[in-house]
C-alpha cells in the first residue's frame, strides 16, 4: 500500500529534478563543444539516463497526487 508523500520527500524530489535538469544541460554543452569522441558519446548516453531519472521523479509526484490530503493534517 502506498503512503501519502511527506513534505520532506517532495523537497528531495524537487531538488533532484533540478539536479537532473542541470546535468542534462551540462552534458549537452559537452556534446556540443567537446572534441573527445568517447566523452561526447558517454555524455549523449547520460542525457537519456538523466531524462529517465527526471521522468521517474515526476512520475512519483503524479502517483502521489490522488492520495495527498487537501487540508493540513494535525
Amino acid at each position: 500500500m502506498i503512503q501519502p508523500m511527506t513534505g520532506k520527500e517532495l523537497e528531495y524530489i524537487a531538488d533532484s529534478m533540478s539536479n537532473e535538469d542541470a546535468q542534462i544541460k551540462q552534458c549537452a554543452a559537452l556534446v556540443a563543444t567537446g572534441t573527445t569522441p568517447a566523452l561526447k558519446n558517454l555524455c549523449s548516453q547520460m542525457i537519456q539516463t538523466h531524462q529517465q531519472h527526471y521522468d521517474s521523479l515526476l512520475h512519483a509526484i503524479s502517483h502521489h497526487q490522488q492520495m495527498a490530503p487537501t487540508q493540513p493534517q494535525q
Binding site: Y12, T36, L39, H63
Partner: protein
C-alpha cells in the same frame, strides 16, 4: 580596438567534464541521503535505484576522463603505511572480538572487501569475504 578588448569566456571540455563529474558525486550523496530520510517505501526504493544509477554514471564518467588523461589519481600508498594500518586495525578487531565474547558469548566474522580475482573461491558461511 573595442572588439579586441572583448573576451570570450568559453569552458574547455576538461572544465565541463570536471563539473559534470563533481556534480555526479554530489548527486549520489544527495540520493543516498534522500533514501535514508524517506518514509514511503516506494519513494525510498526510487531514491535507492537513483543512487545506484547515478553511481554507475559517475563511474563511467570517471573512467572516460581517466582514459582522456583528464584525471590524476593520488599516488600509491607506501608499503609501511599499509603495514602500520593493518597491524593497528587487526589489534582493534581483536579487542572488539574480546568485547563481543565477554558481552555476547559469541562472535561473527565477515568482511565486505572481496577483490574480483578472489571472489570465485568464496565459500558459504562464516568465511571472510577477503581470502
Amino acid at each position: 580596438m573595442y572588439q579586441q578588448q572583448q573576451k570570450q569566456f568559453v569552458l574547455t571540455e576538461e572544465d565541463l567534464a570536471g563539473g559534470i563529474l563533481s556534480d555526479l558525486k554530489r548527486i549520489v550523496r544527495e540520493y543516498a541521503t534522500a533514501a535514508t530520510e524517506s518514509t514511503c517505501p516506494d519513494i525510498r526504493q526510487l531514491f535507492t535505484k537513483l543512487t545506484d544509477s547515478t553511481l554507475a554514471l559517475q563511474g563511467q564518467m570517471f573512467q572516460a576522463m581517466q582514459q582522456a588523461n583528464m584525471y590524476n589519481t593520488s599516488s600509491p600508498v607506501l608499503r609501511q603505511e599499509l603495514d602500520k594500518q593493518a597491524k593497528q586495525y587487526q589489534q582493534m578487531k581483536q579487542k572488539t572480538n574480546q568485547f563481543l565474547q565477554q558481552t555476547l558469548g559469541g562472535q561473527q566474522n565477515q568482511t565486505f572487501y572481496t577483490p574480483q580475482m578472489q571472489q570465485s573461491n568464496q565459500q558459504q558461511g562464516n568465511q571472510p569475504y577477503y581470502m
